[in-house]
Amino acid sequence: MKYAGLVLANLGRNKLRTALTGGAIMLAVLLVCVLLTMPAGLDAFLNNIASNTRISVHNKAGLVYAMPYAFTRKVRQIDGVAAACAFVWFGGAFEEAGRVTFPNFAVEVEQVGAVYPDYDVPAQQLADFRRYRDGAIVGRQTMRRYGWKIGDRVTLRSTVWPVNLDFRIVGEIPNERSPLLWMNRDYLDEALKAQGRSGLGITTLIWVRAADPDRVNAIMRAVDELSRNSDAETASETEKSFFSSFFGSLKGFVTIILVVTGLVALCIVFIAANTASMGVRERAGELAILKAIGFGRRAIFGTLLAEATVLSMVAGLGGVLLTIALTDALHTFAGWNPSLGPLGAFIVTASVIVQGVFLSLFVGMLAGVVPAFGAARKSVVATLHEVF
């Protein structure tokens, strides 16, 4: 500790260079920490939106292929199933946006509340949803995004079905878990029949709620067994698995980014090492004097290494604090902008902080060790001859 004054004084020798080097390390640590929050953030996001009792059932061939609507009733009869609801993708575009900007499905109004009890839609609103054929229940994010409120009427133009439908908003999913819109399946069915079509005999998805989380696997097996050898064999998966498949490509992207970030961190090591080497070269005369007046190799090595490490650690802590601030800001902003998706779920865990601090320690020590060792190992007389 008695060398702290000397170390700090040397760090203040060239303030601009110290600031620039520190800034580079801080940005690298920020980048690494933000990216390190992504896998955990994705998991947290999925845990937040997904229930451990809900099961997605869809055509084994893919989401664009339908299943017979009648299959829903069969699923409902499987032992352990608390509720099941058929979902049909409507693909409705809000006229102002001109494209599909939030997920919207035609659902069974009698069933949906039982499949999604954790969405906490008020009972009165669910009752209104059943009562009004043109009723719709909308996620809070979407309500806020378009400035809608209960009682408003909106028109969606389907990009899948040849209909435009007017809806009366009768309820709101009172949390941030989903931006989706539910409409009455019968309303869509009648609109199609009114156009001389055969109506809805199919379903895109069946959402199932198990009575007990322990029975989820058995139910999934039973559902898929039930459809085996039919025209529409099914693939069942948990809700978390279903949503995580949407972010599968993002996970691969994260891996690539982490590799690139590792290389960036290595570049920062080289930059910091170069800066430390320049500093040592510039102070060769002073180091020679320190050696001459009795500073041993260990003291010289220790003070030089401490300089690089202190700078890196301070910059690294700055990077970690910036990461916390940035993710907090994203979390706040995501509440207002659903398009940020899982970005708002990225949280800085203790593990990320520890990794960020260790990264900065690693950068500092690696950057400082070579020039410090080089300066320390030379004999005092050789150093004096070099500089005087």
Binding site: G5, R13, I289, I293, G294, G296, R297, A299, L384, F388
Partner: protein, 257 residues
């Protein structure tokens, strides 16, 4: 002034026995010192003089434990320096030697007080004691008003005084000065030489100095002349001494002790 090698009433602090120093520069072997023997008594102010390349700085490095001889033996304050490793020599220098250089070589990022306290970092003294001793040393050299000044705000003479305070702050047996007046004007050079003489007079320090400065002859107890790595003796030394006196016009006058 007595310039006879080995003379003096006190016991020798420095004993140099048949010392040679050779080193390789490129493909050449340089004979920097050849078979030099010399005793320097404790409490003397001694000057090594000679032209560039004469080996005086090499001799100073050997005496101060910065370098080790290729042959022969160097004993300072009872310690045979040949036997010490690089790190042991560093520790020995920290305890026994105060160093002064031509270009002051202060740390620009430290105040005068902190520069002087620098060698005390190698001791077990606490911070308050280190500061107290540094301030005392600065008072000795007349810079008690410049404690918080940084080197860039001090004149050359003041910087060399700070360097002298740094050299004496550990109360070493030996003060070694390499061209301490080489970068100073005449007035400051005289003041520094006088200060070194006072360290010998009032504090009993042994001061060994390398210098080209003919004024130094008026301040030192003994002057040793080297040429081409050889210590001049007898008539050769007298001729070298006379040549310096004539060139300086000093006439051999010396200040009162």
């Amino acid at each position: 002034m007595d310039a006879t090698p080995g003379s003096g009433a006190s016991a020798p602090l420095i004993q140099i026995r048949d010392v040679s120093r050779r080193y390789v520069r490129g493909v050449d072997e340089v004979h920097a010192l050849e078979h030099v023997s010399l005793d320097i008594p404790a409490g003397h102010f001694v000057g090594f003089m000679g032209p560039s390349g004469s080996g005086k700085s090499t001799l100073l490095n050997l005496v101060s434990g910065i370098d080790r001889p290729s042959e022969g033996e160097v004993v300072v304050a009872g310690q045979r320096l040949n036997d010490l490793s690089e790190d042991e020599l560093a520790r020995w220098r920290a305890r026994h030697v105060g160093l002064i250089f031509q270009f002051f070589n202060l740390m620009p990022v430290l105040s005068a007080r902190d520069n002087v306290a620098l060698p005390l970092l190698l001791t077990k003294l606490d911070k308050a004691e280190r500061i107290r001793r540094a301030e005392t040393a600065l008072r000795v050299v007349g810079l008690e008003e410049r404690l918080d000044h940084y080197p860039r705000t001090l004149s050359g003479g003041e910087q060399q005084r700070v360097a002298i305070a740094r050299a004496i702050v550990t109360d070493p047996d030996l003060i070694v000065a390499d061209e301490p007046t080489g970068d100073l004007d005449a007035r400051n050079a005289e003041a520094i030489l006088d200060l070194l003489r006072q360290l010998r007079q009032h504090f009993g320090k042994t001061v060994v100095m390398v210098t080209h400065d003919p004024r130094a002859l008026r301040f030192v107890d003994d002057a040793y002349h080297l040429d081409k790595g050889v210590l001049l003796e007898g008539e050769d030394a007298a001729r070298a001494r006379e040549a310096i006196r004539v060139s300086a016009g000093a006439g051999g006058a010396r200040p009162p002790r």
